[in-house]
Amino acid sequence: MDTQFKTINEIMALLPELQEGAAGMQETLIANLIMLSEIPAPTFEEKDRIKLLLQRMLECGLQNVSTDEAGNGVGIIPGTDPARNILLVAHADSVYSGKADHTISVLADEIIGPGVADNSLGVAVLATLPNLLEALGIQLNSNLVLLGSTKGLGSGNLDGLKFFMDHNRLPFDAGICIEGAQLGRLSYTAVGMFRGSIDCRLPEELEWQRVGESSAIIALNDVINRILEIPVPRRPKTSIVLGAIRGGKSFNIMATQSSLRFEVRSEGSEIVQQIRVCIEDIVADIASKYNAEISFKIVSSREPGGIDIGHPLVKSCRQVMEHLDLKPRILPSMSEVSELIGRGLPAVTLGITEVSNLHDLDETIRIQPIYKGLAQLFAVLLAIDGGFCNEPE
């Protein structure tokens, strides 16, 4: 395939061919997906899945295949111009415990199993990309850096990607984050966010007469009421989500411990900061009132930011999607793309297929739309490689 283009429309004209070529590699992609999915990879325990990813890259004949101190897996598909690099990222960790049954089922039109969409499919795309590009005869000018990143979700706080970006020496032109879900997704902005946990402990030796006056649950309840009183502005758009509470032991036993997990997100970074200070004050106040030990920990955080909707990278993505009859669903993100954007790298997140039951044990992806999702990815890659996504000087 000729990969030198005068206009981006020449790339659009290739979309049917790209889609067909992707479908031709169906078994290779699905086999990689099965093998990667069936290795459990909860956050911080991605080692075995990354090992398989690297082995697959080696089998494809990639030369620069390595892992780093954070456990990330990296491979490079060399381009013709050594000065140019495009970063492709898929987070390798999943939300499922290693104890869950990771067996995958393949039906005629669907694949079912924990994590197939988030994000085994993304990682499988990385593992299969060298085969796919070879089959399509695509030789890019830029080096394609394939990164299976670790420690992405929850308290992982994108640490794998952060480590890679801190220590990587290659200058990137752009980044694409690949997620299984959902086809049509387009993320190029990040919301500011922090996730916190508040843990409350009361001394064990409370007397039974004092039952009702004090307990870790009542103390936490006070904390929650006070958090709900924090004024939340409409603009910049801000929200506080109280995600999970735990505490106590049984019907009639005084609770000596309780915990709350919550998330604050806002398009304004100052607001995030203000709410954080408020919560610190609330915690200190309640702790003294109940003579309790209450700790407030920030588990992960992101800075808000983003590239403009008019950025050529975003425009190219939208154009590709429209040619594929996909309605772009523009979502601000808190995942990998936020980290790349925060570092000034133009980046987007793209979804690969249609997904249902996301994060359930029967997470399901549809097979047929995958080829459209891949055609989209190839076209965006070609657009970046062809220089159609650079901001005018």
């Binding site: 290779t28 086999a31 089922s105 393949v106 005629a108």
Partner: protein
Amino acid sequence: MNLNDWIKNNTIHHSRFWDIKKLVEEKERQGLKISLCLPTLNEEKTIGKEIVMFKSELMDRYPLLDEIAVIDSGSSDKTCEIAATFGADVHLSADILPQYGEKKGKGENLWKAVYELTGDIIVYVDADIKNIHPRFAYGLLAPLIYRPEVHYVKAFYDRPLAFSQGVRPSGGGRVTEILVRPLFSLFFPDLTGLIQPLSGEYAVRREVLEKLPFPIGYGVETSHLIDVYEKWGMEAIAQVDLDQRVHRNQETRDLGKMAFGILRAFLFRAEALGVIGELPDLSTFLRQFQANNESFEQVAFEIVEEERQPMIELPEYREKFGIKQ
């Protein structure tokens, strides 16, 4: 031949054959053609995954398999549709050699595969394996490719979890340990060297397969082992440890039917080989119990363990494969 030596030399772990590239080179050097046969009956949950895996890894990536075929006994679910979607050749058992009629049973599919498939080696893999992996095929093929004296390679599955001492019990499933192993111990002691004689995964050279009679039901594996042992000796048999195999578990009552079929096939082989005397007419009915309120009643299942003649005796087969009379 000393059985301990056989166990030592002919029991191999699949990890010895991790280098598939080398295996393919050796296969090509010998000009061998290899077919994978998946006998199916309503396996829609697992068949797609097996085919995708074998096609991607052992056909597209490493050209070890020349043919992947599903031989179906008339599934009522989507087994055939799914298999075709992922690029397997799908054959209905009834459509192969229709002039010989249609009999029900896995052995029937295996027998018809000998006619339909074209490989010099056929590797049979059951279609109900949940944790499918390429080793299920290449692990069984490798001894045939590397060792010309080996003709029949049987799988067994043994993955110790945590075990502190060196010695631990090992062996087969319930029917193996309660029925087949005692029978082999009595009549064919050498065959007790097989750790899981009933496993449904094995690879066999065509020149052996075409000379074997095939019981059409549960007895096919047992009967094969006895025949291969009698005609080619233990040296022709090897067994490969494929680690863990995850599949659905069977009810004890179903195992009763299986045991009945195996026992019938065993007795007929033993009689034909003159190992035991002449048998009386054997019943084809297995009788099991069920309770109906306070009373007990018997349920009789007819289990006919018919046998297909060696393929080489069929003129159609000799013509297709150019074998002179």
